[in-house]
């Protein structure tokens, strides 16, 4: 009886990984095929979805797992973007090295700030990271090599010739963004499902008990902050690639949008992150359609998306505080229990 149980348990540990690999491969393949069949605008939006999804993933790891809420994810994205742009401008290494540099530099900053952050709880951490998000972009004006308000141009070049002449710049962006995001999300999902993910959840739910099983909760929090900053840095580099590496790209609104996306996606599971990215891109589209009915004044087009996302944010946190995914899990568990 016990032996059978053990076999089951090993199967249980083993199957999801293969499923995960398969899922990411299929998703990647599907996306790239899709990229050939839609308009240029949609391709660009696809790249944005991927970038947002990645940024949302970084926040889910940080908040949903290790329990630290950062309002300054945009700041780490900015760090990654500037690091990538500077690397590309001064060193011109292969593209992959540039992106790795973005991850490493942002992670480094994350480790430094996370060292302090690990000692803060809830609102203190939120306020501090908010100050970071507001204050960091002003540094661009302080050092001339950061390009001031106009920012830096992060040029990844055009697609290699072997992809054919039809291969547009936006499609190239989309390929890079989608590939980078898929690979990174795959890594994150693996980590979240490993003993690291369990340890974060444990430390968040009950720090004393987590310490007693031998986890250094503070160090684990710093680790989460570091990884999250690194991932956000990659998302920032990608965003810099499709738009501009300038203070105007990495505003407080961007940080808030990422939080909104993460909350709507359900903070406690990574699976919603792509959906969250999709929502962030779709809502302005819907808003444009809606505001079309009200006569297209600028005040309307500029504010309807914010209104919709903020309302959704409030409603989600009021009525499914732990995110739709967690709510669903809970519901399922209860049903299972009743059936027993």
């Amino acid at each position: 009886m016990l032996k059978r149980k053990r076999e089951e348990s090993s199967k249980r540990e083993h199957n999801p990984y293969r499923r995960r690999v398969l899922f990411f491969l299929l998703l990647g393949w599907g996306l790239l095929l899709l990229g050939d069949r839609v308009s240029e605008l949609r391709v660009y939006q696809g790249a944005l979805i991927a970038i947002y999804a990645l940024a949302i993933g970084s926040l889910i790891l940080l908040t949903g797992y290790s329990g630290q809420l950062s309002l300054g994810q945009g700041a780490f994205m900015a760090i990654g973007a500037y690091a990538a742009a500077l690397t590309q401008i001064y060193l011109q290494p292969p593209l992959i090295v540039t992106f790795i540099a973005a991850v490493v530099v942002a992670a480094l900053f994350g480790a430094i700030i996370g060292g302090g952050a690990a000692r803060l709880s809830g609102p203190y951490l939120a306020g501090t990271t908010l100050a970071l998000a507001l204050g960091l972009p002003t540094l661009a004006n302080l050092f001339s090599f950061l390009g001031g308000e106009t920012g830096l141009y992060f040029d990844v070049g055009i697609a290699p010739e072997r992809f054919g002449a039809e291969f547009t710049l936006y499609k190239w962006f989309f390929w890079i963004a989608a590939l980078a995001t898929l690979i990174m999300l795959f890594f994150i999902q693996n980590i979240l499902k490993s003993r690291y993910g369990r340890a974060w959840k444990a430390g968040r739910a009950n720090a004393a008990a987590a310490q007693l099983v031998g986890l250094h909760v503070g160090r684990r929090k710093v680790l989460a902050f570091t990884i999250s900053a690194g991932v956000a840095g990659l998302a920032g580099a990608l965003l810099g690639m499709v738009s501009l590496v300038a203070p105007s790209t990495f505003t407080l609104s961007l940080s808030f949008a990422i939080i909104t996306g993460a909350v709507l996606a359900g903070l406690t599971s990574l699976t919603g992150s792509i959906l969250g990215g999709l929502v962030l891109v779709i809502i302005p589209e819907i808003a444009e359609m809606v505001s079309g009915n009200f006569g297209e004044s600028e005040a309307v087009t500029a504010n309807i998306p914010g209104l919709i996302t903020s309302l959704l944010l409030i409603l989600t946190v009021l009525f499914t505080p732990n995110g739709p995914a967690e709510q669903w899990h809970h519901h399922k568990e209860k049903k299972k229990q009743r059936a027993l």
Binding site: H14, A205, T268
Partner: protein
């Protein structure tokens, strides 16, 4: 006579100006169950907290397995061969029972971050899961492995908490009110388990359920106002006048007054 494996010498703990513990000395021998009792606020849990690094010791020294040791940080405890359960049970609610117990064995895990990111965790995970499953079986909770911890009944959470403490293979087990909130049947089971465990580890037990304390402990320390007022066998302790006064009230002398 068996060896002394843990020795606390004149431990004092202060909260603000308040003395929570003053000059408490306790020693634990190999294979014994040591009871720690006393009225509310006597300092039992404070002693556990000082020993496990949650509150700082003002004075006092610690000897583990015969050699001097600094007061450990909470997260170092497991590596020193000491495991502790918490009064509030402290399971991790969103994790499954199996995952909870696997975390108890996390110190034995080898997977680094890079391997984890690449998903190369299978061997390690299987090993931990197997260990956890075995330990769950030992506390008759094997069938609960896949349940989320927050869906368990209270007695079941206590079983799982003990399994989580045991899976790290401790030499010393600190049990903080394991019988609290349990019914008669579960308490009988607990008594049996504690006796069985002494073959592999020594136990310090904080408990106010007197039946349990009196029936499983080899020796008992009684604390009152942060001081040890008596220690000895259960028989000696419960006939000690100071102990009776501590429990039933110091104004026994005024009994007839009105």
């Amino acid at each position: 006579m068996s060896q002394t494996i843990l020795e606390i010498d004149s431990l004092s703990v202060n909260f603000g100006g308040l003395k929570a513990l003053s000059n408490v000395s306790v020693n634990l021998r190999e294979g014994e169950v040591l009871g720690l009792i006393g009225p509310n606020g006597a300092g039992k849990t404070t002693l556990f907290n000082a020993l496990s690094g949650f509150v700082p010791a003002a004075t006092g020294s610690l000897k583990l397995f015969g050699s001097d040791h600094k007061w450990p940080r909470p997260d170092q405890l497991v590596n020193l061969g000491i495991a502790r359960t918490l009064q509030g049970v402290g399971l991790f609610p969103e994790l499954t029972v199996l995952e909870n117990v696997m975390l108890g064995a996390d110190v034995l895990a080898k997977t680094g971050l890079v391997r984890a990111a690449l998903g190369l965790t299978r061997r390690d995970e299987e090993r931990l899961a197997q260990k956890a499953q075995t330990m769950l079986g030992r506390v008759y909770a094997g069938h609960l492995a896949d349940r989320r911890a927050d869906t368990l009944s209270y007695p079941d959470t206590k079983r799982v908490a003990i399994a989580r403490a045991l899976v790290s293979e401790p030499k010393i087990l600190l049990l903080d009110e394991p019988a609290g909130g349990l019914g008669a049947q579960d308490i009988a089971w607990l008594n049996g388990l504690i006796r069985n465990l002494t073959s592999s580890c020594s136990i310090i037990l904080v408990e106010h359920h007197m039946d349990v304390v009196m029936s499983v402990c080899n020796r008992i320390y009684v604390l009152n106002f942060g001081e040890v007022i008596a220690n000895g066998t259960p028989e000696q302790v419960r006939n000690d006048d100071d102990v009776i006064a501590a429990y039933l009230g110091a104004s026994a002398a005024h009994g007839g007054e009105k």
